[in-house]
Symmetry: C2
Subunit: 249 residues, 2 copies
DNA sequence: TATGTTTGTGTCAATATGACGCAAACTAAA
DNA sequence: TTTAGTTTGCGTCATATTGACACAAACATA
């Protein structure tokens, strides 16, 4: 049973992270499986009294993924009364996830700050579960297990925001590996937007932004014609999204 | 000196509202002048322990503007340590704005939830100051007075968000009066975007969205050719911004 | 060597955009 | 009453962008 230094945390406030990854043509979210429970949860944590909220979010994220300097954006504060389910703390005590001392802490009303993170799937080695959970897995966004409290809504909202931010945030840069093929980045865009795009028109447009650099390498080993590998021109990408990539797909 | 039922509020959390209005070709923000001080502040307040955050934001806003059902959007949680200035509570006590009992409450670390509101300037009759202030005024966005703490940054961020949301939120509907001329709505767009637009191209585009209804009335009394008055087709507008108005100006 | 699929590169018509021109409507000055 | 100065309403036109496709080269596998 874990002990929490709750006296060092801001009361009534938590952080929940929606960690997006992209793998096998699908958007994935990193979820924790609560010990002895069927319900899953978003990785989250509390905020040190003497630290910036953004920094705390990064700390929580680093604990879970082992990665530093991850792309992380605050996107919403969830502050409805209904999000605090009465039985939650009781359950945590009964399943011995937390000690009885901690029960009042978990019974108080919580507001939660939603952050979304974009990580390169392959770089997250072994997702590490926290004290409340015994496993940590990537789950496909369109086939999520049952989630505690309002975590499903938090994910939905994060996905919505991601869609809207597609032209303002370096989504590709953070979700794709260093080098990638044209169809990989296209699939990413299709997945986030939830619609298919014409291959040739996509190519024309993404190239017109002048944010990609064609390497002269090819992805070998595939079962068909070897595609060319691209990289981002980070400087140009960063500059381009300042103003937003004109006109969406 | 005012008393606050601080025991009924969530500790360490506040709401700040950036209330936008549009008047005389300018974007305005409603600000409070702190008693006996040169610095101004955003209208804000605290959150009842037993109430949704969104509802509390509405309550605070209604107190200040007298308007119900105002368009109000949460846009950011400000959670840096640096935003809490040490001398602030002391000043409030010294200037007798708050009693000494309240000093610990105002000395704690505060996170603040930023909301922005869009109101029709003319509908706000007499902005009512709160207990910490003795006047309440519309200030032009590009000529703001000195503001307390990080309120200038909060406004800047709200303005940024407004710009980005222009094609996803009913900005015009909420900032303009029921009926308006083509140049009024164009000026609104120009003001929010911070750039001038071609009059004829603007007209063509805004009409192509099919969200405006031409009334057959004209604005009389002007010094030149009487312009035609338009209204929003609220249903079509609402529908159009669901997907976002394709391609910005 | 034949087959199926993916990749790279175009074309072309339909639309949308940006840069203007011009006359009608109206006020205020002459 | 006439004239000058503005604003409004309604166009045009060249250029750029979009959406819908066609086709051949490059592979792996059979």
């Amino acid at each position: 049973m874990a002990e929490l230094p709750i006296e060092t945390y801001l009361p009534g406030l938590s952080i929940d992270c929606v960690i997006f990854g992209f793998h096998e043509m699908e958007l994935k979210v990193l979820l924790l499986n609560m010990k002895n429970q069927e319900e899953w949860a978003l990785p989250g944590g509390f905020i040190q009294k003497d630290q910036d909220v953004d920094i705390e979010a990064n700390r929580i994220l680093e604990n879970r993924t082992g990665l530093k300097n991850i792309f992380l954006q605050q996107f919403h504060l969830f502050g409805d009364l209904t999000r605090n389910k009465a039985g939650h703390a009781k359950k945590l005590v009964e399943t011995k996830i937390i000690s009885d001392d901690l029960r009042p802490w978990f019974e108080q009303r919580f507001l939660s700050i939603g952050y979304y993170a974009l990580v390169e799937y392959s770089k997250v080695q072994v997702p590490t579960p926290d004290f409340t959970s015994d496993s940590c897995e990537w789950c496909s966004l369109n086939n999520l297990p049952k989630l505690i409290m309002d975590h499903q809504q938090i994910i939905d909202r994060a996905h919505q925001v991601l869609k809207k931010e597609l032209n303002y945030q370096p989504i590709g840069l953070n979700l794709l590996p260093q080098q990638f093929t044209m169809s990989e980045i296209q699939t990413l865009y299709e997945t986030v937007l939830g619609k298919t795009l014409d291959r040739r028109n996509f190519r024309r447009k993404i190239l017109s932004y002048d944010i990609l650099v064609a390497t002269n390498k090819q992805r070998k080993g595939g079962t068909h014609r070897a595609p060319m590998l691209y990289e981002f021109d980070e400087e140009k990408y960063t500059q381009a999204i300042q103003e937003g990539l004109k006109s969406l797909f």
